[in-house]
Symmetry: C2
Subunit: 199 residues, 2 copies
């Protein structure tokens, strides 16, 4: 990895933390230059605009998410073990890649939902990819006979997303220490409801 690439990497890692704390709108070239003690012109050499920087910050976050959540979970056997691995790693994601203000995607979702533009478009793509990954894992567990043949994978993913959002809300806003535990109980209920009927 060349020096330019290393700098770019350091900038984007910092941008993820910043977005977590102050939102994606707060990720500006000026603010990042300050935080990293670089010149603004130096940053402009890496990112041509604030918007390009925001899109690349989302992309880098997605790449890190893939590294610490998706790829290791895909190493687990298909079916319920893989679904469980995705869930557990997802739950730990805002700590695995330090996001002191909470998950960058939760932050960006609320921020960008009514702001058309390239950052919103990219976020929507990334979210759809993630829902697809979740739904695929659910169908994997169905194909292994661990979940019902008629399980609605998209509904499962919808509800699981809600569990995560509620856990995030309880932990971040309400400082509720049982947030992870409640999320796990909700996940078990989701699984139990989706199991095939006992013979």
């Amino acid at each position: 990895m060349g020096k330019g690439e290393q700098t770019r990497d350091a900038i984007l890692e910092r941008a993820i933390r910043l977005a977590s704390e102050v939102g994606l709108e707060g990720v500006t070239i000026g603010r990042l230059a300050d935080a990293l003690d670089l010149s603004k012109s130096g940053l402009f050499a890496h990112f041509e605009s604030k918007e390009a920087l925001q899109v690349e910050t989302l992309d880098r976050a997605a790449q890190r998410f893939s590294e610490v959540v998706v790829r290791p979970a895909l190493a687990a056997p298909r079916g319920e073990p893989r679904l469980r691995a995705l869930f557990e790693r997802w739950l730990r994601w805002p700590r695995a890649v330090p996001q002191p203000g909470g998950c960058i995607f939760v932050q960006a979702s609320v921020e960008l939902d009514d702001r058309p533009g390239p950052a919103r478009d990219r976020l929507v793509e990334l979210q759809r990819e993630w829902f697809d990954t979740l739904a695929r894992a659910v169908r994997g567990a169905r194909d292994e006979g661990q979940l019902r043949a008629d399980v609605d994978a998209q509904q499962f993913a919808f509800e699981l997303y809600g569990v995560m959002l509620s856990s995030h809300h309880h932990a971040r806003l309400l400082h509720d220490r049982s947030a992870d535990e409640r999320a796990r109980r909700a996940f078990e209920r989701l699984l139990d409801d989706a199991r095939p009927p006992r013979r």
Copy 2:
């Protein structure tokens, strides 16, 4: 209601819409003065600081929430009917009191979670009150024998909050038209799981 009170009312209604669109940090005296075609000094006569304005915006939103969600739902018979009324009215809340950028409380939660201060403190109080209302409705349904004697009301409220957040996310960010329908299915699953075992 005197003229001063009417103006104050109009300001706060506008502040709710603004907070929904640009976040509570965007609710400033200058911006509101522009939107309402009032002088900044006129607005300062009503709210002494940006922070006071933010707290009052949250309070007004909570009062409107109580008017269109909580109070009418409490008119339904205790137990499952009341719980259902709370859920249905909650689902319609961002339309019942126009919030073009989505629920002000979802917006404010993500925004304020790492910003200590009076606005955050007030939001936490309001959220706790709402969770208490939900948990009380769940216990009401338990006392009526419609839900299991050992139903965990707080866990129920935690999961129901997640259903709402996921629905909000799907509708707002992903423009998913089935968001309400998915929320209803998730709610029915929550209820079904909490029912007493059949004899």
